[in-house]
Every structure is written in structure tokens, then in C-alpha cells.
């Protein structure tokens, strides 16, 4: 099948990939751009492991046509840290043991990032609502909810 060149911004870097017609964004990111941080969990929009941000809003990359991201701003967990400086969400996840196998973590971090950009002081219920499309098999969710609330507080300079 013929491949078409496509360019977009991936974590602030101009990026070009070749995509096949009908290819989804998850594959274009993993195989084309070599960013393995979004995960393939189900491939049908039911687990959230593939969540990325497009122009700041969370999208399931397994259900998004790669071409839909052309010329847009895509963010993945791979770009969360600034060099050795972890993002406050990553620090809170790490300190709060909010990951075990880590397969859901990339998706969780991206929905959390979008939530906090829109709502910097979410309630516990709002955090639960935000991650309710993301499955986790390991943690029991509690540590994830706590970590997001902790990060939100720290980003605001508040006590958790």
C-alpha cells in the first residue's frame, strides 16, 4: 500500500512519518516515530492505555486516524519530563507507588495532564471521572487517584 508523508509536532519537536491509508495514530507514533510510551492495550477504544493529547485534549490514539493528527500538536508521556526533571505528575505517581506493571500509566498520566490543565483544583470525584475510561489491572486505582490529587496540589503550591 502506498505510504504518505505526514508531519506533526510530537512533544514540541517537528516530526515526520510515513503513514498508510487507514493507519491509526498509535501505530504511527510507535512504529513511525518510535515513541513507545503510548501502549496498545485493546485496539478498540476500551482501555485508555493508548491515550495521547492532540492540541491538549485526550484522544484514544488506537481509534484516531494518523492523518487526523497532521499539522497538529501531539503529546505523549514520552515528552512529559524535561530532561532529568520529572513532571510533577510523574513524581507523584512514583512517590505514591501509583504504578506496578506500568502499562496503564502513560494513558493515566495523559488524561491527568489534560484534566489539570483545564481544572487545576479537581475534586476527588472529578479525578475519578477523568480516569474512568482508563483501565488498571494492578493498583486498585486508589494510589492513582491520590497521586493525581497530590500533583495538582503541588502544582498549585498547596498542601495535598
Amino acid at each position: 500500500m502506498p505510504k504518505k508523508p505526514m508531519s506533526f509536532t510530537l512533544n514540541d519537536a517537528e516530526t515526520g512519518v510515513f503513514v498508510e491509508e487507514g493507519q491509526n495514530l498509535l501505530e504511527a507514533l510507535r512504529r513511525g516515530a518510535g515513541d513507545l510510551s503510548p501502549k496498545f492495550g485493546c485496539g478498540q477504544g476500551t482501555c485508555g492505555a493508548c491515550t495521547v493529547l492532540i492540541d491538549g485534549a485526550p484522544h484514544l490514539s488506537c481509534l484516531t486516524l494518523a492523518e487526523a493528527a497532521a499539522s497538529r500538536r501531539v503529546e505523549t508521556t514520552g515528552g512529559l519530563a524535561a530532561g532529568p526533571e520529572l513532571h510533577p505528575l510523574q513524581t507523584a505517581f512514583m512517590e505514591g507507588f501509583a504504578a506496578q506493571c506500568g502499562f496503564c500509566t502513560g494513558g493515566m498520566l495523559m488524561v491527568a495532564k489534560a484534566l489539570l490543565a483545564e481544572n487545576p483544583r479537581p475534586t476527588r470525584e472529578e479525578v475519578i471521572e477523568a480516569i474512568s475510561g482508563n483501565l488498571c489491572r494492578c493498583t486498585g486505582y486508589g494510589p492513582i487517584v491520590d497521586a493525581i490529587l497530590t500533583a495538582a496540589a503541588r502544582m498549585q503550591g498547596r498542601a495535598a
Partner: protein
């Protein structure tokens, strides 16, 4: 509609590992020329913390800082043989193999250091900070890195070790079928408080109180994390998860994550955990690890709590609202069991 509160209790003795063929685990340890150590395993880390715990164990047995130890579980084709990550065996079986491999590597490291310092290896000790010194004379020392360089480029010596852990294989008595499946058990006791709605049959788990005996908790935060997540999975198995709700009939079976039910972040159960540490004699630094036991006691405790709440004894998992409602119908309504003082 009435909501009935119930409390259930369960206690388990849980086998660590199994006895199929002695349940062997192997580990290989070797130093890099700059004095770091690589532990090669085929037992994988699936989130339970295998890499972290074997790293701690190797650092302790080698006498070097944990930062200088790397654990590679990349490939069961190229790594040493291991039965695998299952049967709650990782910390115990693999940990013991890592101690043996690390001890062999340590002995070679001490020999190499002794040659450099011109003393007997038995007169040397490590400080755990990356140095090897003469006992009683800490200023006479050499770094682990210098030792590794000397071994590699001057002495022509490897700093490496092999380790295997195998338990006494236990045969099956042909007359009685008796065998001894394991050498070590972990233990847990757990109380579940829940509420049953007699109109919808729905169960809400309100609180879990648990105590787990895991030997020494080699990494207490990882143990706690595993127990919290495991209890979630226990609740999920007890009340939600099935691929054949009318087994063996496939009818109404879920087909994807939309229809395969599991509790979500809105159903987090508060859980108080007490970890009891009683270092086990044949375990690596006493640690047995929680393993599968973190989920298992939840299931009988939930079943007992449902029985206590409404008198319905469900003996097939999961305990769905339908099964509870059928039970209620058959016995003519809720028959709450005795309440403990302090519960509704």
C-alpha cells in the same frame, strides 16, 4: 428496599512456590569492568517488583551499593533457566538463587581485592559503599571499581557467580496421593464489611481489614502496593469477573473490556493492612513475598459476608446480583445472620 450489612472473615495458609520437579530457579551474576554488577534472570517482573527485590538482595549479598546492581530479565532464551513468575515463588525461589550467585561473585571479588592489597581474602570486608577494606584497618582499602578493573585487565579473573535454588523434590505416595507440595507458607486473615441491597441484589464492599504474614517485607512499600492492588482484584473476582456467566454456556459472556465487568476507580474499597514480619528460615533474608495471596482471602471473606448479611450462601463465583436475588427468592427474603456489636 432494605440494605443489609454483613461481615465476613477468611484466613488462609498460602504455599510459596510449588514442588513440580523441585521448582528450580537460577541466577547468574557478573561484574562489568567498571565494578557494576549485572544479575541475569529469566523470572520476569510483571509489576510485582521482581527487579527491585532481586536488586536489593544482590546488593546485600555482594556488599555493594544498590545503585551499582542491574537486573536483566530480558529473555528466557538467553537467560539462565527459571520455572517462571507464578505460584508466589519469585522472592523466595529467585531470591535464594540470587544470594548464591552473588555470594560466589563476592568471593571472587574478595580474592581479586586481596591480591591487590596483598592480604588474605578472609581479612577483607565490604562497607556497602563501594569499598573493600582490611578488617580493623578501614584506611587500607580498594574500591570495587578498581578491583574489577584489576581483575579484568591485570589478573585475568572474572568476578561472577552462578546460583541455583532447588527444593527437595517430593514424590507422590501411590497409595494415599500424599505429597509435600511446598516448604514454606505465607499467611493472611481478612475481614470484609459490605452491604447487600435486597431489591437489586447489589453488593457494596465498604471496608477491608487485613493482616498478612509475608516473612520479612524486603521492600515494605512494594508489599503494601501489591496488597492494595491484589485486594482490588480479589473484590473483582468475588463480585464481577467472569467470561462465562452461565458456565459452561457461553451465552451473555462478555466480549471486550466494555462488557467484561471490573470495579472502577469509583468503587475503591478502603483497606487497612497490617503486615506481620516473621523472617522465614529458608527464605532470602527472611522474605517470602505476598504473591497471589494478596487477592485470594478476599473471595471467601466476601462470600461469608454476603451470607452474614442476607443468609444467602453463594458457592459459585462471581457473586452476582442475579445469584443473590435467586437465593433471596428461594429462601423467602433476607435472613440476616448474627451482628457483631458495633455493626449495624
Amino acid at each position: 428496599m432494605t440494605r443489609y450489612a454483613g461481615r465476613g472473615f477468611a484466613a488462609i495458609n498460602y504455599p510459596i512456590g510449588m514442588n513440580l520437579g523441585g521448582d528450580p530457579a537460577q541466577a547468574l551474576v557478573h561484574s562489568t569492568p567498571d565494578g557494576k554488577f549485572m544479575v541475569t534472570l529469566s523470572a520476569i517482573d510483571l509489576g510485582q517488583g521482581m527487579k527491585s527485590v532481586t536488586r536489593q538482595i544482590a546488593a546485600e549479598a555482594l556488599g555493594v551499593p544498590m545503585e551499582d546492581v542491574y537486573v536483566d530479565t530480558a529473555d528466557s532464551d538467553t537467560g539462565p533457566h527459571d520455572m517462571g513468575s507464578f505460584a508466589s515463588r519469585g522472592t523466595h525461589r529467585v531470591g535464594n538463587a540470587v544470594i548464591r550467585a552473588s555470594s560466589e561473585a563476592r568471593a571472587q571479588m574478595m580474592e581479586a581485592a586481596a591480591e591487590e592489597l596483598e592480604v588474605n581474602a578472609t581479612d577483607l570486608d565490604t562497607d556497602g559503599q563501594g569499598n573493600i577494606h582490611v578488617k580493623g584497618a578501614p584506611q587500607r582499602k580498594i574500591t570495587v571499581a578498581e578491583t574489577a578493573i584489576a581483575a579484568q585487565f591485570k589478573q585475568g579473573r572474572t568476578l561472577s557467580g552462578r546460583g541455583i535454588f532447588l527444593i527437595e523434590p517430593s514424590g507422590v505416595d501411590p497409595d494415599t496421593g500424599e505429597m509435600s507440595p511446598v516448604t514454606t507458607y505465607a499467611h493472611a486473615a481478612l475481614i470484609v464489611d459490605l452491604t447487600v441491597d435486597d431489591e437489586t441484589g447489589e453488593v457494596t464492599v465498604d471496608k477491608i481489614n487485613s493482616a498478612y504474614e509475608v516473612g520479612r517485607a524486603l521492600n515494605p512499600k512494594l508489599v503494601e502496593q501489591q496488597l492494595i492492588g491484589g485486594a482490588w482484584m480479589g473484590v473483582s473476582h468475588a463480585l464481577y469477573e467472569t467470561t462465562e456467566p452461565y458456565y459452561p454456556d457461553r451465552a451473555h459472556g462478555p466480549e471486550d473490556f466494555n462488557t467484561y465487568l471490573m470495579p472502577g476507580p469509583g468503587e475503591i474499597v478502603p483497606h487497612d493492612i497490617a503486615v506481620l514480619e516473621r523472617p522465614a528460615a529458608d527464605a532470602p533474608y527472611g522474605g517470602k513475598g505476598p504473591g497471589e495471596m494478596c487477592a485470594n482471602p478476599v473471595l471467601p471473606a466476601v462470600a461469608n459476608a454476603v451470607y452474614n448479611a442476607v443468609g444467602v450462601r453463594v458457592d459459585k463465583l462471581p457473586i452476582t446480583p442475579e445469584k443473590i436475588l435467586r437465593g433471596l427468592q428461594a429462601q423467602g427474603g433476607a435472613k440476616p445472620g448474627p451482628r457483631r456489636p458495633g455493626t449495624q
